[in-house]
Amino acid sequence: MPKDFGVGASTKRREDVRFLTGNGQYTDDMNVHGQAHVHFVRSEVANGVLKSVDTSAAAAMAGVVRVFTGADFEGVGGLPCGWQITDRHGEPMKEPAHPVLAQGKVRHVGDPIAAVVAETAAQARDAAEAVSCEIEEQPAVTDMKAALGGGALVHDEIGSNLCYDWGFVEENREAVEEAIRGAHHVTTLELTNNRLIPNAMEPRVAIGDYNPSTDESTLYTTSQNPHVIRLLMGAFVLGLPEHKLRVVAPDVGGGFGSKIFHYAEEALCTFAARQLKRAVKWTASRSESFITDAHGRDHVTKIELALDKDGNFLAIRTETCANMGAYLSTFSTSVPTWLHGTLMAGNYKTPLIYVNVKAVFTNTVPVDAYRGAGRPEATFQLERVIDKAARELNMNPIELRRRNFIGADEFPYSTPVAVQYDTGNYQATMDKLVDIADIDGFSGRAESSAARGKLRGLGVNCYIEACGIAPSNLVGQLGARAGLYESATVRVNATGSVTVMTGSHSHGQGHETTFPQVVADMLGIEEGQVNIQHGDTANTPMGMGTYGSRSIAVGGAAMVRATEKIISKAKKIAAHLLEAPEGDIEFKDGSFAVAGTDKSVAWGDVCLAAYVPHNYPLEELEPGLEETAFYDPANFTFPAGAYACEVEVDPETGKVDICSFAAADDFGNVINPMIVDGQVHGGIAQGIGQALLEHATYDDNGQLLAGSYMDYAMPRADDVPSLVVDHSCQTPCTHNPLGVKGCGEAGAIGSPPAVVNAVIDALERGGHSVGHIDMPVSPSRVWAAING
């Protein structure tokens, strides 16, 4: 029976009332008294020496308050990178400076050169056109092979375009080489994981504000993690201590990773507000978003899978070039390494794995985490090479996977890439998939497609992801420059309602609904009695924010811990009120009872006593009922699943239509099944976008060719079929109190290989031996492959 409230209930998203009625408060909805507006002058060339910037004409124009250039930021720190990678030889990565406004050089189209502050946005834009920049254009480098092969330099001071050459696990290098050399069969696949533009519905916005009388700065920004921005910008860029800097991220209209990072515009607005002693606002245009939001993916990979004669996996070796773009964005360096290499075991027992990643600077927009972040790249290559191996060995791709699955009885399972999976049951999710996707009925459907002149294909794959990235002491050893705990303060109000201040941040995930479900369940009160506050460093405990499917697994766990503290204290108060020993108090359904008696006191009475402590053990217990907890998990969580996609290919045009898509996920325990469905739906839509449509391509001069929606194809409703989603296979996480694993990225991680496997299957069945087609599998690419 589905529950109708609390954990496990599909409670409707309470935040949607304000979002759908136009009552959201997004950053651009906010206007600070006396604010000025900023417009950025950006480089139109991808690589060049910035000889001079003449702002005099602009400064004299109507309404202009001040024009900032790189010179204003001498002595001010650059934008920091949050994760240091140590290369194969024990050397730290190359970490070039990333100035707030360009100094001496421009390195990608969109690189900010000057910031014009004026009374109105239109005046700022007009004046920006009058800023004249003398730039000596140099050849640009956008292709990673060219960048490593002696092409133009992005950062002259480094002397090459190599950021790092990472080996993992370096000690396995020789053994993997030997296993591959001696294997019965080796399948090799070279592929590209296409560059994507995140395209959150809400473009980025920043408002810097300053109060000269208190020397306090406030930044309103479209961020997934306001505390992280406060730390990075305060400590590393502007030198502002936390108690003088408040960061507010109000309603945020989607992020998908792109709003994790600290951006130059945030620092500029905060800095300018202090200089000008008035608020300064910037709102990105959509065109600006295309060339300034950190892009995603962009890997070029060669993967080899060695098998014995029975199809058992013996070894995997993968070599990847990962595009960093022109500068190191906040978490860019961790994505192709720790978020990618550690996932290369997938759902399988492969004894030997070696991962090599070369991170490369190019004259393109910085690349960083985007929904899935490293894990889609790992999953795609692994699940594509397995499919190719099955074809080469004439084995059923599902059977080949099943043969190599880690068994349900083998958990906890330590992989050769340094992680330990706590739980899982991959045969069960595959069984579920075979059922919900009606895999047995495929051949009948293929016949009816053939009758209409279409080629039908079936693609199946598995995925594993590591969510709730942790623990802090481990990631610290791996180079993270931050902790990865989460925090919550549970404040019980005098009349029994509850306010939870969480360090997690909701920008579409539905925390305002799901978090109360958990707390209300624990306290035996109605969900409506619990409210969530997030997104403001002034009233939430230091938290690391929301990304990596970590909110319920880490933030939710912190909230549970704080609520446990509340219950424990409330029991003491109840014991006093009931004149019974604390050990005899039982708390159930919102009532404290003395075991074995009919004596009880209600939740509300205990809360009132805490705040009106007339009859209260003041000598032993503080009044009030408010607790904070910080939770640092013992391990990642490991959601996993199996996905199936069916496509029809029109062999005359190369057009691919997705006929059906099924997803069987194991997310451990599920708080709100409806919201989980929605997360999976959105993830799959994005994965379909990557697989069939989206492609951020540059020309040789470093101009973005898909710089607007006229050329950058986002998935639309008619690109996505009705999705069959199931999460009834549940192996709860063993190390967090809710037994949850996280579901935010699964769809985006698991779906691209299913789509591409299906297209290749359709073509192979149709007699076209194409091997592989890179994403996006566009009609023209399919046609070219068929006629190749």
Binding site: S287, E652, T653, L692, Y712, P779, A784
Partner: protein
Amino acid sequence: MYNFDFERPSSLADAIVALAQEDSQALAGGQTLIPTLKNRLANPAKLVSLMAIDDLQGVAVGDGVVCVKAATTHVAAAAGAAGSFPALAELAGNIGDPAVRNRGTVGGSLANNDPSACYPAAALATGATIVTNLREISADEFFTGMFGTALGDGEIITEVRFPVPDAANYQKFEQPASRFALVGVFVARFGDRARVAVTGASEDGVFRWVEAESALFGNFTKASLDGLELSPEGLIGDIHGSAEYRAHLTKIMAGRAVAAC
């Protein structure tokens, strides 16, 4: 956007006067012009809206001709032509999305002559007459290359007269992002004569595929096109498809259009 003056005349005569002034420009549905202005790629001194002129609105059917007034939106054109010229109605009903179809106009589409737009294919395949405030221009004369037309400065399209073919069909293969035509082929048969107009494919904008027309002459079947190949020379190659791919699609779409007639 730069600043501009705005006028919204209610008669054609007033519009003509307003458009005679230097640096003034007609505004119809704004689906092309407004984004251009927003990106600061145009800087007209004055915009003259044609949308309040009754004489430029509506669809008239008669004498084997469907006459669409220039400022008729795609939605209104689709409704007005549905009974008399279904292929044209279908074309109009598949342009862009509902917002675009409720604003964009046939006159704006032809005047703009986007190399991937749909209406130019219908005009050229039917041998339509583009009527302006000054003259009548045959479709064969009207389109003069990518974004180019025979219109003079300040000249206003007032209506488009589409001869209704005995059979017609438009096949549009959508560019995945914009959903304009990556290749669109409009085939119109009048008696045993066929006209085939191709949009989306050529660097010179919409064109007639005369080899296909000859092949279809007197033998209006898909099979008649079998032996034909369109040369990729002069065709558009971009991130959505090579010139070769567009050449191939032209043939496929032409075949499908003939089969659907």
